[in-house]
């Protein structure tokens, strides 16, 4: 069986995080964000043999590329106040992104309904199974949080 190409594997695994940094965190316009992500992966193609953690390398490279993008876009002005976010916060968000990417789409939908849309436990239970039990809804939310939490613990080497 052929060994999977490490660069293509990294692309599949970390595309979401790199694109998230460009498109969401640094609010780079869609067409430019695609080009920027492409450039980051090209740089990775050149350096991947010496890299130990492809995710960390790509995140750092994406962040630098985004800062450069805004510097070049507005060469005579400082960066807009909302850009870029502090790296610590950015890293936490990217970590969370990676963690949530590993929970099921159903769980992501449940967490989104609960924490973003503010749906009640009873509403979640109704949307998911037609039940009206708020206890069931709470259990669903809890189960999804536990899955996310387990992924977080695994990432931190505590699993």
């Amino acid at each position: 069986m052929a060994t999977p190409d490490p660069v293509e594997t990294a692309y599949a695994k970390h595309y979401a995080a790199v694109h998230f940094i460009a498109a969401v965190q640094f609010r780079i316009p869609a067409a430019d964000a695609d080009q920027l992500v492409h450039d980051v992966f090209l740089a990775f193609l050149r350096h991947h043999e010496t890299v130990g953690d492809s995710g960390a390398w790509l995140v750092a490279s994406a962040r630098n590329a985004c800062i450069s993008y805004w510097r070049k876009a507005k060469p005579t002005e400082g960066l807009p106040p909302s850009l870029p976010e502090p790296p610590r916060d950015l890293n936490a968000r990217v970590d969370l992104l990676r963690i949530l990417a590993s929970v099921s789409p159903r769980c992501r939908q449940i967490l989104y309904s609960r924490f973003v849309e503010g749906a009640s436990a009873a509403q979640i239970a109704r949307d998911c199974s037609g039940s009206t039990s708020s206890d069931y809804g709470r259990r669903l939310v809890h189960r999804c949080l536990t899955a996310a939490r387990a992924a977080l613990a695994k990432k931190a080497g505590r699993a």
Partner: protein, 454 residues
């Protein structure tokens, strides 16, 4: 006090779930930092979740992935990866053909084979040059120039890959100049590497590696503070990229400076950090093998200087094995020397034989200076034991060895004075140390004065 609540209960507490006993858990958290931390982590996650954009992004991701798979950027990238793979394989194969011919013919051969005029082939030649840097820097420089000429004739390479390769050429050129003691040229080449990398869209990583190359040149020019400042700045950039070979090398360089400054414990910590990073890399082509061997050798040196002879002997043995695997015989003998000195300090009766073997191996490689210093160590030990009969012929040998090594006449006089002192049974171990320092400095401007005469 209640027992530690299970993780489920702590998560429910963080979620304000009414089904858990809030008062009891809150009281427990007052007393238990571990559980308090668990709750804090869970709450931080809840705050992040409530911001929504992360989840929104993930919900949109399947459609986004599909869009990307169909985008020309992705298709370009996949094509580029495929091309890169086939070029690397072809370069590896064709390099064997080149290696069988004199270097002077390589460019002509490559000109007749346009399919092999690729960035990957230039990389391969640069890698070979890197392997030659220590022992044959002039030959390494020849290969670097060849790689540079080749890059000028590469057709259709992606600009990012081509620019990075050009920067790599300047960086290796700086290394070669440095090994040839052309230090100003080394500095200039490192600056040009940095300028070249800065043309990239995402240059920070490559620029930091060029800054380290410049730092090494500054170090060799004895501009220690500038070298250290630049190295620390480069390390802090490289650190943000996670573990990489470049970060490992950057820490190794700082460790070497700290060792030179006499901060042994600090140097030891840095060598350990570097080793741990280098060993964590998957490194399928074993490109960090030399650096790993160097880390073990230097860890042996640090432990030795700190008086931990057991740890030093173990690290030296690991370095020897690694160096022998890499066919770096000179370095393997140096580690064997360190290990023999550790044996000596631990009272191992085989230590003198091990030192003698190291000296013989250096002599077999015509490295008379190194052989002489090993024999000086043996002489020192024999004087400590007052074995005059064994020390005297050895002292005669020292004069001969260092003469063959080409030291100054004053150094030879110093060694002869040691021999005479041994003949008259007046020499001491301290005198050997004095003579060793004098010969190691080998300063033509400093005439020899016996110990105590200034």
């Amino acid at each position: 006090m209640i027992d530690h609540p299970d993780p489920d209960t702590l998560t429910r507490f963080a979620e304000d779930d009414p089904s858990v006993d809030h008062a009891a858990i809150a009281a427990h958290l007052e007393e238990c930092d571990t559980c308090a931390l668990e709750v804090e982590v869970a709450r931080e996650m809840l705050v992040e979740l409530s911001r929504g954009e992360v989840l929104q992004y993930l919900l949109d991701l399947p459609a986004e992935r599909q869009r990307v798979r169909e985008s020309h950027h992705y298709l370009d990238f996949v094509r580029l990866c495929e091309r890169e793979r086939s070029e690397v394989a072809a370069a590896e194969q064709f390099f064997a053909v080149l290696a069988a011919r004199p270097v002077g013919e390589w460019l002509a051969i490559l000109r007749r084979s346009p399919e092999h005029r690729t960035v990957s082939m230039a990389d391969w030649i640069l890698h070979e040059a890197e392997l030659l840097l220590d022992e044959k820097p002039a030959e390494a420089m020849r290969l670097i120039e060849l790689a540079d000429e080749l890059l000028n004739e590469v057709d259709g390479a992606h600009p990012t890959l081509l620019t990075t390769a050009r920067g790599d050429v300047w960086r290796q050129r700086s290394n070669a100049h440095r090994h040839l003691f052309q230090l100003q040229e080394a500095l200039n080449a490192a600056i040009l590497a940095e300028h070249t990398y800065r043309q990239l869209d995402s240059p920070e990583f490559a620029v930091a590696t060029a800054q380290n190359t410049r730092a090494v040149a500054l170090f060799k020019m004895t501009r220690l503070n500038e070298a250290l400042d630049l190295n620390l700045a480069a390390s802090s950039v490289l650190r943000t990229f996670g573990p990489t070979r470049e970060l490992g090398k950057s820490l190794m360089f700082e460790a070497a400076i700290r060792l030179e400054q006499g901060f042994i414990a600090k140097a030891q910590r840095l060598w350990r950090q570097a080793l741990s990073i280098l060993e964590s890399l998957s490194d399928s082509k074993n490109k960090a093998a030399r650096e790993i061997a160097r880390c073990h050798a230097n860890l042996a040196e640090c432990s030795y200087r700190l008086g931990d002879y057991g740890a030093a002997a173990e690290a030296a043995a690991r370095a020897m094995t690694r160096y022998r695997g890499l066919r770096m015989e000179t370095e393997a003998i140096r580690s064997a020397w360190t290990r023999a000195l550790c044996q000596l300090h631990r009272g191992d009766p085989s230590a003198l034989d091990a030192l003698d073997l190291a000296a013989q191996q250096f002599e077999a490689l015509q490295m008379f200076g190194d052989a002489g210093f090993v024999r000086l160590d043996i002489t020192e030990e024999l004087l400590r034991r007052e074995e005059w009969d064994r020390a005297e012929p050895l002292a005669r040998q020292l004069v001969e060895l260092f003469t063959r090594a080409g030291v100054t006449v004053a150094s030879v006089q110093a060694l002869d004075s040691l021999r005479q002192s041994i003949v008259h049974q007046l020499a001491t171990a301290g005198m050997v140390q004095y003579i060793r320092d004098y010969v190691a400095a080998d300063d033509p401007a400093r005439p020899f004065a016996p110990p105590g005469v200034h």
